[in-house]
């Protein structure tokens, strides 16, 4: 017997919050707006917790209150009615709950709620307070729809929706040109990925006749010999979509620019939840990828390459949020690598821990920026450990976690991915090595950030020092605690829990010996990174500038992000703009449309001018036309039409 879990509450309460704050927010007092905005994610989180408790508790223990029915089994589906039913296409509004979506929902609503609390303090003095929270709630609505989706079309609705919310929030300071452009860029690049996703959906429909994930899984499980071919194409299209949303290699360019939005937005959307939607989608459709090894390999390769690529760029960035953005791209590359070696549980594990420590790092960066009056350049910070002690402590915890030190959360998850990559053997070992190098670079630049922000003498102007309100500190502390103990569940128990939903093959037992060696290697490279950063940024701070001056070309290449944006601008953006201006602007807009309008108006004018000459006011010409009309009538009525040969010919043809 399945319990009625009211899954629909999870997305709908944030949607109600969006409507309320969006429509009435400007006229309501701030405390009402805050309450509504905080109640929505809290309610969602509460429902998710309720579901989680029901599913974790064994059936017997729930007997104490006979009115609470038990959740008997995963996956649990709730259908709300038919959406499309045309011919062979049947799509329902239905939500599915299984281990994967439960974990994802806990992360999304939990971290989301913490970030909402943080935003109350961060955005306190900002204009557009209600608008901000309504957009945040809108984002939560779409993200939960995406996670709970039972079929690809409902997931696509959520997919597009989070893109929209991202656009709205990145361009929140819409008066700034850079923010508006960044929002546009994010949406457009996401769109390119969505195109791939759509093609994937069409192909899925054509080949499987259904879009429901479970049914596709059943069809594929029933035919284990069906590999490659069209499945590879579908998988590649889906991974294009995932690459767009999760900022992987060809389509990552929007994420650094997205830092124009407020910092809590960067934390929620561009670190913890939205960008992980791509990884989630791959985990959801893992059956497809398992049957398409080429696509899986491509995903792994792209992931590893992106991780390395982004880490190298992050080495020399000077804006604190840009460093974190490139770090996010790099870590997402790790998750893709995990998916690509079929270690979906490891990828999701890293998704969860990454949500904790990346959100923590972003919020801490926000606290720093907030307290020194908006300054974001690392070169102008320094010596902040005295002024911001709590922030200093939590940032340290976050940096240790992301670098992968034992026993923080990042260690367990990153290690799980690297182990899976190594164990798969062959070319995956190369990817393992790339991952290892990336870990070294990650550790280096995160510690660089730590040193530049908190250590040394203050390099910036004496800025007004705002103290950080408790609404901003409390989430930081909670997230720090999670970053410490979030990985302690261990990969074995985690993948054992998740395996019914993300893997079809039984996982091989973990070779403890090999794992120990690999984890020691990982910690060692993290330590090496720390040492290097310590040397260059604390011990001898002038050395960093000398090193940069010694290799000017490489430094400039990295500092300018390998000129990728310029490349895209020249190859894709400029031709499009030129096409719009000349082909669409001149030919279609002015020529065809303008010409058509001119033609219509001109014809009417012309005929009017001709007909006008008929109304001469001259009585005799009117009389003449009258006579002509009378003659015509007479001729028409009285002539023996049958005798005239054209008419009789036509009549004969017509059959009279």
């Amino acid at each position: 017997m399945n319990a009625d879990l009211h899954l629909w509450l999870i997305p709908l309460v944030p949607f109600a919050g969006f409507l309320l704050n969006g429509i009435l927010g400007r006229r309501l007092p701030k405390w009402i707006v805050t309450t509504v905005a905080l109640l929505a994610p809290l309610a969602s989180f509460g429902v998710v917790l309720n579901v989680a408790l029901r599913s974790f508790t064994p059936l017997e223990l729930q007997g104490w209150n006979g009115s609470i029915p038990a959740l008997s089994s995963f996956p649990y589906v709730e259908t709300y009615g038919q959406w499309i039913s045309i011919g062979a296409l049947h799509v329902d509004f239905s939500f599915v709950l299984d281990q994967l979506s439960l974990i994802m929902l806990l992360v999304v609503t939990g971290v989301g709620f913490l970030i909402h609390i943080y935003s109350v303090g961060y955005m306190r003095d900002e204009e557009g307070y209600a608008r901000y929270f309504s957009f945040l709630n809108l984002f939560l609505f779409f993200m939960t729809v995406l996670v709970l989706a039972c079929n690809a079309l409902v997931m696509f609705v959520g997919w597009e929706g989070v893109g929209l919310a991202s656009y709205l929030l990145i361009g929140f300071y819409f008066q700034k040109n850079s923010a508006a452009n960044a929002g546009k860029k994010a949406f457009i690049v996401n769109r390119i990925g969505d195109f791939g996703f759509l093609i994937g959906i069409f192909l899925l429909l054509a080949n499987f006749g259904t879009l429901t994930f479970s049914e596709i899984g059943h069809q594929l499980a029933a035919d284990p010999g069906w590999q490659g071919g069209v499945l590879t194409v579908i998988a590649l299209c889906l991974s294009l979509g995932a690459a767009g949303k999760s900022a992987q290699l060809p389509l990552y360019i929007w994420l650094p620019d997205a830092m124009e939005g407020p910092t809590p937005v960067s934390a929620l959307i561009h670190a913890a939840t939205m960008v992980t939607a791509g990884v989630y989608m791959i985990a959801r459709t893992h059956v497809l990828f398992d049957h398409a090894p080429f696509a899986l390999g491509t995903v792994a390769f792209v992931g590893a390459l992106t991780a390395l690529f982004a880490a190298t760029i992050g080495l020399v960035q000077n804006d604190i949020k840009r460093v974190l953005a490139y770090s996010t791209i790099s870590q997402l590359g790790y998750m893709f690598l995990g998916c690509g070696v079929a270690a979906y549980s490891a990828a999701i594990f890293h998704l969860m821990t990454h949500a904790f420590f990346k959100a923590l790092l972003f919020l801490a960066a926000g606290a720093i920026i907030h307290s020194i009056g908006g300054e974001q350049d690392l070169r102008k910070m320094g010596g902040l450990w005295k002024k911001l002690p709590v922030t200093f402590v939590v940032t340290t915890i976050g940096v240790l976690a992301i670098a992968g030190f034992y026993p923080f959360a990042g260690f367990y998850s990153k290690d799980a991915i690297l182990y899976a990559a190594f164990v798969q053997g062959g070319s995956a070992r190369v990817l393992w090595f790339a991952g290892l190098v990336t870990a070294l670079l990650t550790s280096f630049y995160m510690f660089r950030l730590w040193y530049l922000a908190f250590w040394g003498k203050p390099r910036g102007e004496a800025a007004p020092h705002h103290s950080t309100p408790w609404s901003m500190l409390a989430p930081l502390v909670i997230l720090a605690a999670l970053s410490i103990c979030g990985g302690w569940i261990g990969i074995e128990r985690f993948s054992a829990y998740l395996s019914p939903s993300v893997s079809t093959k039984p996982s091989a037992p973990i070779d403890a010996h090999l794992e120990l060696i690999l984890s020691i290697a990982a910690v060692a490279v993290a330590f090496m990174g720390w040492l290097a950063a310590d040397f260059l940024y604390r011990y001898k701070p002038a050395r960093a500038a000398q090193l940069a001056a010694a290799y000017p070309r490489s430094y400039n290449m990295l500092a300018n992000k390998y000129y990728v944006d310029e490349f895209y601008g020249a190859t894709a953006v400029k031709p499009l703009l030129a096409f719009s201006k000349y082909a669409l602007g001149w030919v279609v807009d002015v020529g065809i449309l303008g010409g058509a309008a001119w033609l219509l108006a001109g014809t009417t004018n012309f005929t009017g001018a001709i007909l006008q000459r008929w109304q001469s006011g001259n009585l005799r010409s009117y009389a003449a036309w009258l006579a002509a009309g009378a003659a015509a009538l007479l001729l028409f009525v009285l002539l023996p039409w049958n005798a005239i040969w054209p008419v009789s010919f036509i009549l004969k043809v017509a059959g009279h």
Binding site: Q612, Q615, S616, G617, N618, L619, R620, A623, A624, A627
Partner: protein, 111 residues
């Protein structure tokens, strides 16, 4: 046509001749309406047209022995009288307004 001349030998007037005369009067009336420039003369051409039609009515009434044809002519005459009265009053009003009876000069109703 030969039937016409055969009647001529018998010295009777065929109905067709009356009808032709009526058509001719009507056409002459129309031509007059088109040619003449004086308002009053144009109106007289209208009366000519009416008379032509009256002749054809009477002819057919004679042909078929129907009295109603002649009664219709009677009504046409009544209407023509009324129309003449009103029409001439209008012409007088127009003359007072425009001081001319030339129809080409009375062209204020042009676009």
């Amino acid at each position: 046509m030969s039937s016409l001349f055969s009647n001529l030998l018998q010295q009777e007037v065929p109905i067709v001749w009356y009808l032709l005369l009526s058509a001719a009067l009507f056409s002459l009336g129309v031509i007059g309406f088109l040619i003449k420039r004086n308002l009053i003369t144009m109106f007289m051409s209208i009366e000519l047209m009416l008379n032509g039609v009256n002749l054809s009515f009477v002819t057919f009434a004679h042909q078929w022995g129907a009295v109603k044809g002649q009664i219709f002519v009677f009504f046409v005459m009544v209407v023509a009288a009324a129309e003449a009265a009103v029409g001439l009053a209008i012409i007088i009003a127009v003359f007072r307004a425009r001081a001319t009876l030339t129809v080409d000069r009375i062209n204020l109703m042009k676009l």
